[in-house]
């Protein structure tokens, strides 16, 4: 399955307008009585984060951060889930996970180090000053080595590189899949209080207000066939 084969979203927004539930918009369910006020407030606040000016990440780091998160989350066009701004808010507010692995620094410092390291590798391998100046293929080669933990030199020699991949990826996907546009893409029914679910057993797993998967391609087989990492 190439992404061109996916249907265009007809209702609501998904990241890059891709998805398998083209007529499902989870925000249609955000009405009072389906979602409680506290939940609606938290979820809806994510829709405006794209306008946030960066505070935690520096102007110098921004191009590398955008290129890195776009690559790892395959966000190659608008509309984008504003992961950069969401991460910036998280670390500006000092939100940590409650544990720090002994072989990497504090999450906040680790992010600065990883971005610095990506630029270091871009320079040492390709002679450019910024990771964002590389083409997608070169960026992916560095990312793959980050995942395998084999990047060396500069900041990479000061912490466990494989762990740095795990920590930064977990932070990225947590932001991405907390955004209602991403829920539209995957057909997730979203918050369900106070309404709750009517159907969850054998009688049919879909509620009247949920969409249907119109292209049930098996991701495991398809990504293998296409040789994706």
């Amino acid at each position: 399955l190439a992404r061109e084969d996916l249907p265009r979203q007809r209702r609501g927004i998904t990241p890059q307008m891709l998805g398998r539930y083209p007529d499902f918009d989870v925000l249609d369910n955000s009405i009072t009585g389906a979602w409680d006020d506290a939940t609606r407030g938290v979820v809806m606040s994510r829709l405006t984060l794209g306008q946030r000016a960066l505070e935690f990440f520096t102007r110098d780091e921004e191009p590398t951060l955008r290129a890195f998160t776009d690559l790892m989350l395959a966000q190659d066009g608008e509309p984008r889930v504003p992961v950069v701004e969401m991460l910036d808010l998280k670390y500006t507010e000092g939100k940590l996970e409650g544990f720090q692995y002994e072989d990497v620094p504090d999450d906040r410092l680790l992010w600065h180090e990883v971005l610095h390291g990506l630029d270091f590798s871009a320079h040492s391998r390709y002679g450019v000053n910024c990771f964002a100046d590389l083409d997608r293929e070169a960026q992916a080669a560095i990312a793959q080595d980050l995942q395998r933990g084999v990047l060396t030199g500069g900041p990479w020699d000061t912490f466990n590189v494989r762990r740095a991949y795990t920590v930064t990826m977990a932070a990225m996907v947590t932001e991405f899949y907390s955004h209602p546009w991403a829920w539209n893409e995957i057909g997730f029914g979203g918050p369900a209080y106070p309404r709750g679910w009517m159907h969850f057993g054998l009688l049919g797993a879909t509620e009247p207000f949920e969409g249907h998967d119109v292209l049930p391609v098996d991701a495991a087989r398809d990504t293998r066939r296409r040789g994706l990492p």
């Binding site: 992404r3 891709l18 998805g19 979602w35 409680d36 506290a38 939940t39 938290v42 979820v43 690559l71 790892m72 989350l73 395959a74 939100k95 940590l96 996970e97 409650g98 544990f99 720090q100 692995y101 002994e102 072989d103 504090d106 990312a143 995942q147 795990t166 977990a170 996907v173 991405f176 899949y177 907390s178 991403a182 829920w183 893409e185 995957i186 057909g187 997730f188 029914g189 979203g190 918050p191 369900a192 209080y193 106070p194 309404r195 709750g196 679910w197 969850f200 057993g201 054998l202 797993a205 249907h212 998967d213 049930p216 391609v217 098996d218 991701a219 495991a220 087989r221 990504t223 990492p229």
Partner: protein, 569 residues
């Protein structure tokens, strides 16, 4: 008392739990604990009868029991006093405030993720975001050394706790089918209906000869007092906004407050203070909002901060006569911290499963709980349904190494996947321990360092359990399978035992040498079984309270001695 509890279990929820009106004290239309404005407030200089550190499963249960007996009780809690209507959301990322997110360092050969995985904060503790499974320990869990030559034996046995398992099950209330494993027993509430995911797993397991049962979950099946029934929305791990799932906030704290206990939120305990004759005299704590230091006086102090913070507090309380921390004369504080191996295996189906619907805890099996020599390792595991929401599912996809385009594609496939997990009994090892790190928290207090490495028996157990899950998925007709290695729960770190040389506290939870300093949480476990620990933590606190109330705990003894309990066969 015992016969009354037995009778009530047979009557399936028809009998109100004894001496606990929590479910009836709650408001029918609002989720917050009523009566906070008129809650008893003690002054720091009042010598209260019992000062508890930590308002979780153990601390809240102990507080409720002793308040009922007329003891003047204060509970210090580092986090806020939750109002579920206002503070909790049906949202994964938005539930971050429920987790203990103050810094801890984790390491060793197989480091354990903390935070949202196993550590709560706020009045109600980790049960606020636990899935809801409330199984009992098995009789064998208390004698693993005698029976299987691994781990160690507890100074008490299953039968000492049984009346308290039954009582806490009524209070939760626990819903489930008749339970055929361990000490067979029924549950006060009938089983919940099963989701498509649970039915899929059940059917396949059954064909393989693996028995499963619905439950046991601490989720009301039907109304209980002013607690509504479950609405199956699936956000159990994000705090139950419905008040259907058990947590101390619904099961013990309303009754405790009605009987004069004070729950003092945003109060972070930093040091246990000893007074004359080396007895506990009170606790120093910080008001988290003002950073002002206080010292609450007390006749008895009970620490219930869980397996990381309880050892940390004892170690940070080093003072004259206790240079290495309280109860640490034999270098045992912080040792033997256990986690359960909790790998999960996902199966892909051509039709939609939508595992986010219904509570993640649905059906489980304890068929593999006990040692079976043919499997090649000691002890065993339980099998349970889990139902990750999108961020949880993304962690599975990341664990298989996907990123970019393939990450997005697996994520788009979310509704076609079903996931089950196991809880493997990993053995208590002295090298797996909490110590103090060089790093300080925001208050200048050294943070905990948790070192964890598996032993060979642990690895064999986890491998075998993953194989069982793969077999179930193959039988169910899954087209593809994903696996993730992870851990769940925390217990141990300050084990109870028969002598000061092998434990931190005695069978009455008294720290050796400090008879009025008690440990009332999961840190006292010597072994963990394959059971989720919440019920056993509550039952232990309930038993301790029963013994305190009956005057069986000698709080004045110059040095607490072990009392050998009568052994039943």
């Amino acid at each position: 008392m015992t016969s009354r509890f037995r009778l009530s279990t047979a009557l399936k929820g028809a009998v109100r739990p004894p001496e606990n009106d929590s479910a009836w004290l709650l408001d029918e239309h609002r989720r917050a604990v009523p009566g906070l404005s008129s809650m008893t407030r003690y002054r720091d200089e009042d010598e209260v009868d019992l000062l508890v550190v930590g308002a979780g499963a153990g601390g809240s249960t102990l507080a409720q029991r002793m308040a009922r007996r007329g003891w003047r009780v204060v509970v210090l809690e580092a986090g806020p006093f939750w109002d579920p209507d206002r503070d909790w959301v049906s949202d994964e990322a938005g539930s971050h405030p429920l987790y203990w997110t103050m810094k801890r360092i984790t390491g060793g050969g197989d480091p354990v993720a903390l935070g949202k995985n196993n550590s709560g904060i706020g009045v109600g503790g980790s049960m606020i975001h636990f899935a809801g499974y409330m199984p009992r320990l098995h009789p064998s869990d208390f004698r693993t050394f005698s029976e299987d030559g691994v781990g160690s034996d507890w100074p008490i046995d299953y039968w000492d706790l049984k009346p308290h398992f039954e009582r806490c099950e009524m209070e939760a209330p626990v819903a489930g089918q008749y339970w055929p494993w361990g000490d067979p027993h029924g549950y006060p509430h009938s089983p919940h209906p099963a989701s498509l995911q649970a039915l899929t797993i059940w059917d396949a397991a059954h064909r393989l000869g693996i028995e499963m049962r619905a439950g046991p979950v601490g989720i009301a099946n039907g109304r209980m007092g002013n607690r509504p029934h479950c609405i199956y929305r699936g956000y159990c791990l994000q705090g139950c906004k419905v008040n259907a799932k058990a947590s101390p906030l619904t099961t013990h704290i309303p009754d405790a407050i009605a009987h004069g206990a004070e729950f003092r939120a945003m109060s972070f305990a930093t040091r246990i203070v000893l007074g004359a004759e080396g007895r506990a005299a009170g606790v120093e704590y910080l008001d988290v909002r003002t950073h002002l230091q206080h010292r609450q006086r007390a006749r008895v102090v009970a620490v219930a901060g869980y397996s990381i913070e309880t050892p940390r507090l004892l170690l940070n309380s080093a003072q004259a006569g206790h240079p290495h921390g309280l109860g640490n004369g034999h270098d045992l504080v912080g040792r033997g911290v256990m986690v359960q191996g909790a790998p999960q295996v996902a199966g892909r189906f051509p039709h939609e499963i939508r595992m986010y619907k219904a509570p993640p805890p649905e059906v489980s099996s304890e068929q593999f709980y006990e040692t079976d020599a043919r499997r090649g390792f000691a002890r065993g595991f339980s099998v349970q349904t889990v139902g990750p929401l999108p961020i949880g599912w993304a962690e599975h996809v990341l664990a298989e190494g996907h990123w970019g385009e393939s990450l997005r594609e697996y994520m788009r496939d979310y509704n076609h996947w079903a996931i089950m997990g196991v809880l493997c009994e990993l053995l208590p090892l002295p090298e797996n321990r909490v110590t103090l790190a060089a790093e300080m928290d925001q208050f200048g207090i050294p943070v905990a360092h948790f070192h964890y490495t598996q032993c060979d028996n642990d690895r064999r157990n986890i491998d075998y359990a993953k194989g069982v899950m793969r077999e179930i998925w193959k039988e169910a007709g899954a087209q593809d399978i994903l696996e993730i290695d992870r851990y769940a729960h925390l217990v141990g770190g300050c084990p109870m035992g028969a002598t000061p040389e092998d434990s931190v506290c005695n069978s009455d939870h008294q720290v050796w040498g400090i008879p009025n300093l008690l440990l009332a949480d999961g840190s006292v476990f010597r072994t963990q079984g394959s059971a989720n620990p919440a019920l056993a933590i509550q039952a232990l606190a309930s038993r301790l309270a029963d013994r305190l109330a009956r005057g069986l705990v000698d709080l004045d003894a110059p040095s607490a001695r072990h009392v050998v309990p009568a052994r039943r066969s």
